[in-house]
């Protein structure tokens, strides 16, 4: 099917151009260039006989923006010149449109993000449908790019730097009402006919429309680079960005740079600068990583790891066993999704406390104006706290969220599995215990599955679903659907000690502990952990997890090893340090008398001074880059092993899981994607260096060597 830009002139000589490209959405590609080119040619040719133009879309969205897949394939040094020419061509057409000498109005019937909104900006007026389908904004920064279709230059010229800066740097998506408030659209309409008629009314009222920057004597609102207030603002924006990006993400600084130049040079010069900087960003590793993340998120959320051919299901009634920190969070997110929740604990009191957690969160939402009292009441009404197991009768899903203890979990399974509805799913929330082992007492092991929630459940966007040996595809599909029902992103992994996320997460803490034992300055360890993009240093992470839990998990792992004849646990530096802190100094973690840090009441945390006398060796002077790579690459090596061992089968699951579950730095695109842009061979070489200096744990997994040899990537 070929696409068209449908061209229709009404009796008032207003032309309505309806974009209807061949794909499912209108997008910035060669077809667009051809269709837009023809349209502009015709508009110019017929200029004298037309009164104005309404630009709209035949799709459910207005216009989707750039072609991420084709940008992703562009290699540095290849094709930049073509992309630059293409960019100038696209800009040139929009420039001709805005200088047509006739009013052009965007009638925004659906999402207009990125390139879509850049088209709207080149119009003289914007009328949007007041509908949930409408989203406008310039989210390019989240892909590691910048709005290269004139978005930066027009935002700066339209709004002035003060108002343009946040939407550009944060990539904010605005719904219709917010877009109106922010001035990104000028009018809203209730339905399509009234949108078109408002657009036409504006054309009739503004026959001479020009964009302000094309009017002689135009001045950028708020001033240009000669205004000391503006230069001060730009100077202040840089450190603010650094706080967020630590210099690891190039796009925000480039955006700021183009903003600054748009304040210094004329409109068309700024447009060309924007094009050059855009082209430069496309091939950066970080942009590739972020674009790949975007595509992989779509893959994961689109059910890439969900077994095919099984009908989508929705949970009606969920039973949650254990109203502790995890159980109460699961109850909250389930009720928020409209699911009836039975929150069961040993005592009514404990169950009530679990429900009170939801009350607290909902009350906050109401106070922030994000929820009505009625809605709050109805969500709370869905949660029944109880100590009575009979209320679980008929649950189509039961999630057991008790302590990480095999015997306890077994006992509860035995006792309560009979309450499940016919063919109901039993989920165990665990971060370490093998699902196949936990499923032993299950009458229907094919309906038994691991659902690993992250804490705090209401904030963490990820759910790690673990299939046991006997878990059926149908059960997996249902767990997957439940995760999506509660608006989480599910990744799917196979049963193995520590599964995927916990295994990888532990290596970060462990590498921090090893550095401590080697005598490296704890300040350096923490700062370099943050410098590579981890949200906090490995020592602070250990304190959050708590030394107490760390010791317990190690003990559990040893017990499991005995039970399974396994060798998973091993003696770790983090265990040695944690048990010493706990047993000799009574330091069980942040919430238990401090850990690596002291946590003074009302003050900032400070490294525990004793740490220096116990471990620090001033003569130890490791290269900074080695420490950084150890902290980051240790996690990658573990992920590669998980991939090799089929703990995680999908590259996307590994990448998404690492970023959303354990705070792996987003600019990497995830644990495996980072290796792609680092270069597999280069990564293997670097691992060999680290291995020779620091030990076998950095040995390159065979899967890396094989793929490097074959010239493949992790895809």
């Amino acid at each position: 099917m070929t696409g068209t830009f449908n061209y229709e002139k009404d009796s008032d000589n207003i032309v309505t151009v309806t974009m209807d490209m061949s794909g499912p959405v209108n997008a910035m590609n060669d077809e667009y260039v051809a269709l837009m080119g023809e349209t502009i040619d015709r508009l110019e040719a017929e200029r004298e006989s037309i009164a104005g133009v309404v630009l709209t879309s035949a799709k459910s969205s207005f216009f989707a923006g750039g072609d991420i897949k084709s940008m992703l394939s562009l290699k540095p040094g290849e094709g930049e010149a073509e992309m630059f020419e293409m960019n100038l061509k696209i800009k040139g057409m929009l420039r001709r449109m805005e200088k047509l000498g006739r009013p052009v109005v965007a009638a925004i019937n659906g999402a207009a993000l990125g390139g879509g909104y850049e088209i709207c900006l080149a119009c003289h007026h914007r009328v949007a449908l007041d509908s949930k389908a409408v989203q406008v904004g310039l989210p390019e920064v989240s892909l590691g790019l910048l709005p290269g279709g004139g978005g930066i230059v027009r935002m700066v010229n339209k709004f002035g730097v003060e108002r343009a800066i946040m939407p550009l740097l944060e990539g904010t998506r605005f719904n219709a009402k917010k877009a109106l408030e922010a001035g990104l659209v000028e009018e809203l309409a209730d339905d399509v006919p009234s949108m078109i008629s408002k657009a036409k009314a504006w054309i009739k009222a503004n026959p001479e429309a020009m964009n302000p920057w094309d009017v002689k004597g135009f001045k950028i609102p708020g001033g240009n680079a000669k205004n000391p207030k503006i230069t001060q603002m730009l100077q202040g924006a840089n450190p603010m960005l650094f706080q967020k990006t630590r210099g690891l993400v190039p796009a925000p600084v480039k955006i700021l740079d183009v903003i600054a130049d748009a304040l210094r040079v004329d409109f068309d010069t700024a447009m060309e600068i924007e094009a050059r900087v855009f082209v430069g960003l496309v091939t950066t590793p970080v942009a590739k990583n972020l674009m790949s993340f975007f595509l992989q998120m779509n893959q994961v959320n689109g059910g890439g790891s969900r077994p095919a051919g099984i009908e989508k299901t929705a949970v009606q009634k969920v039973g949650i066993l254990g109203a502790g920190m995890m159980g109460q969070g699961i109850a909250y997110v389930s009720a928020m999704a409209g699911i009836e929740v039975i929150l069961k604990d040993i005592s009514q009191d404990a169950a009530d406390k679990g429900k009170a957690y939801s009350d607290t969160l909902l009350t906050k939402r109401v106070a922030r104006g994000r929820m009505t009292e009625e809605k709050k009441a109805s969500v709370l009404g869905l949660i029944t706290p109880t100590d009575n197991a009979d209320l679980l009768e008929g649950c189509d899903l039961i999630i057991e969220a008790v302590f990480e203890n095999v015997d306890l979990k077994h006992k509860i399974t035995e006792e309560l599995q009979g309450k499940l509805a016919e063919n109901g799913v039993w989920g165990s929330n665990t971060s370490t215990l093998p699902i196949t082992l936990l499923a032993e007492p299950a009458k229907r092991p094919e309906n038994f599955i691991g659902i690993h929630f992250f804490s705090p459940v209401d904030k963490m966007p990820l759910v790690e679903i673990i299939t046991g040996e006997q878990t059926s595809d149908e059960t997996l599909a249902r767990a997957f659907d439940y995760a999506q029902q509660i608006r989480k992103t599910p990744i799917v992994v196979n049963d193995s000690r520590g599964f995927f996320t916990s295994r990888v997460f532990a290596t970060y803490i462990e590498e921090g502990a090893q550095l401590i034992e080697e005598g490296v300055d704890p300040v350096l360890i923490e700062n370099l952990g943050r410098a590579v993009g981890m949200p906090v240093g490995p020592l602070a992470v250990q304190d959050e997890v708590s030394q107490q839990l760390a010791v317990k998990v190690s003990e559990t792992n040893r017990e499991l090893d005995e039970r399974l004849g396994d060798k998973f646990a091993g003696e770790t530096a983090s265990y040695r340090i944690a048990s010493k802190m706990l047993n000799e100094y009574g330091r069980g973690g942040r919430a238990h008398g401090g850990g690596y840090y002291d946590y003074p009441e009302g003050g900032e945390k400070q490294l525990w001074s004793e740490l220096y006398s116990l471990y620090h060796k001033p003569e130890v002077d490791l290269p900074v880059n080695d420490i950084k790579d150890r902290l980051l690459f240790r996690q990658i090596v573990e992920s590669l092993r998980c991939y090799e061992e089929n703990v995680v089968n999908q590259v996307a699951d590994a990448n998404i899981g690492s970023i959303m579950g354990i705070g792996f730095p987003p600019h990497t695109g995830g644990v495996l994607q980072y290796v792609n842009t680092y270069g597999l061979k280069a990564f293997a070489t670097r691992l060999a260096e680290l291995e020779s200096r620091y030990g076998e744990r950095f040995a390159a997994p065979q899967v890396l060597l094989d793929k490097a040899e074959k010239g493949e990537t992790f895809a």
Binding site: G77, E80, A81, F84, A225, K226, D261, R264, V265, D266, D268, T269, E272, I273, R276, V277, V279, G280
Partner: protein, 402 residues
């Protein structure tokens, strides 16, 4: 003098019109300079840690060109952090002053390797954006009889009897010579193309030259300084030159130096530094001079500066093989020729700033590359570079090809 100041290389960017929309208006001055510095570094595999200082002329050091653009560019270029940088301003002589200062640093033996040059993005930081007491402070302007230099140029023409046709003919010759030199590739060895962050070329060669310029075509241009003169500046000027009846305003955009963007860099060092780098010197700075002349007419300094530098070098005008006089205005170069009686065949043989433009802070250093290239091409020995300078100053430098 303890050391010889050797010129190991002299490079520049191409020049393009210093106006928004022109190719180089896309390029920040700091990048123009940093790109050139790295072009110089890459030509020689220069270990930048060996460079003591980077001395850069810039006449409008405000905004994007403010806060010591020399050091800023050194940092932006990623040079070794031990490399210092200083920006200086001797009006239009800044680029040559940078070269002279670098030569003195080497000659004194106090430094070993210095990059000298200049930068001016006249599109982004317009001429005059830095203000200054000389023209803007009423008492100072009054006490010093300040007059815009174009009026001074017209006054020179009037006093020397250069007609409109004379100055236009000079401009045409500048265009012809520059166009021929560009065509023949005489500048290619020293011009480092300006590239964007992707390595894509923004400007490859000089872009300002207008081949095909004729006296006829120039005759259509209106005098640029007649109005300013009429506002009273002519009267101020004539109060110093009471024997002149009235100023004949002959200069216009076509016979004055072009407003352009550009940068230049000259690598100057001791013999030892060259040996360390494994570089053969291209030239040697023989002598330098600055002087001052009557500031109201302002632009008559090149002749006296030339005599001064020749005297220092113990040389005569005949010993100089090539002269580069900055074509700030046609009358300036013509007056220089009259003052020195240097033969026209030796002066601005490849055209000048009328054809190629005058990026204020960079021009003096650009002329070093121009004269060295031509001395090499002709296998000649001595070149003399001179410029008229604000405040009535003059500057001159003699270089020897080695």
């Amino acid at each position: 003098m303890s050391n010889s100041a050797f010129i190991y290389d002299a490079v520049r960017t191409p020049r393009a019109k210093g106006k928004m929309g022109s190719p180089l208006s896309q390029v920040k001055p700091v990048d123009l300079l940093a790109g050139l510095l790295n072009g110089l570094r890459d030509r020689h595999g220069l270990d930048t840690a060996l460079v003591d200082d980077v001395v850069m002329g810039c006449v409008t050091p405000v905004g994007e060109q403010g806060s010591c653009i020399a050091k800023t560019a050194v940092m932006k270029a990623g040079w070794d952090e031990s490399v210092a940088g200083v920006q200086l301003d001797r009006f239009c002589a800044s680029g040559l002053e940078a070269v002279n200062l670098a030569a003195m640093k080497i000659a004194s033996g106090w430094e070993e390797l210095v990059v000298a040059g200049g930068v001016e993005s006249m599109s982004r930081v317009p001429m005059g954006a830095n203000g200054g007491a000389w023209g803007e402070d009423p008492q100072t302007a009054s006490d010093t009889a300040f007059v815009p230099q174009g009026v001074g140029a017209d006054l020179i023409a009037t006093m020397e009897g250069f007609s409109r046709e004379d100055v236009d003919a000079f401009a045409v010759r500048s265009q012809e010579r520059a166009a021929a030199a560009r065509e023949a590739g005489y500048f290619d060895g020293s011009v480092i193309p300006v590239k964007d962050g992707n390595g894509m070329v923004i400007l490859q060669r000089d872009d300002f030259i207008k081949p095909g310029t004729t006296v006829e075509s120039l005759s259509k241009l209106k005098p640029s300084f007649e109005m300013l003169g009429g506002m009273g500046f002519d009267d101020i000027a004539l109060s110093k030159y009471p024997h002149v009846a009235r100023i004949n305003h002959v200069h216009h955009a076509g016979n004055s130096s072009g407003i352009v963007d550009g940068a230049a860099a000259v690598l100057i060092g001791s013999e030892a530094a060259g040996a360390k780098l494994g570089l053969k010197p291209r030239g040697r700075v023989v002598a330098t001079a600055v002087t001052g002349t009557e500031p109201t007419i302002m632009l008559t300094g090149p002749g006296p500066a030339t005599f001064k530098v020749l005297e220092k070098a113990g040389m005569t005008i005949d010993q100089i093989d090539l002269f580069e006089i900055n074509e700030a205005f046609a009358s300036v170069a013509m007056r220089f020729q009259k003052d020195t009686q240097a033969p026209w065949e030796k002066i601005n043989v490849n055209g000048g700033a009328i054809a190629m433009g005058h990026p204020l802070g960079a021009t003096g250093a650009m002329l070093i590359s121009t004269v060295l290239d031509e001395l090499e091409r002709r296998q000649q020995r001595f070149g003399l570079v001179t410029l008229c300078v604000g405040g009535g100053m003059g500057i001159a430098t003699i270089v020897e090809r080695v």
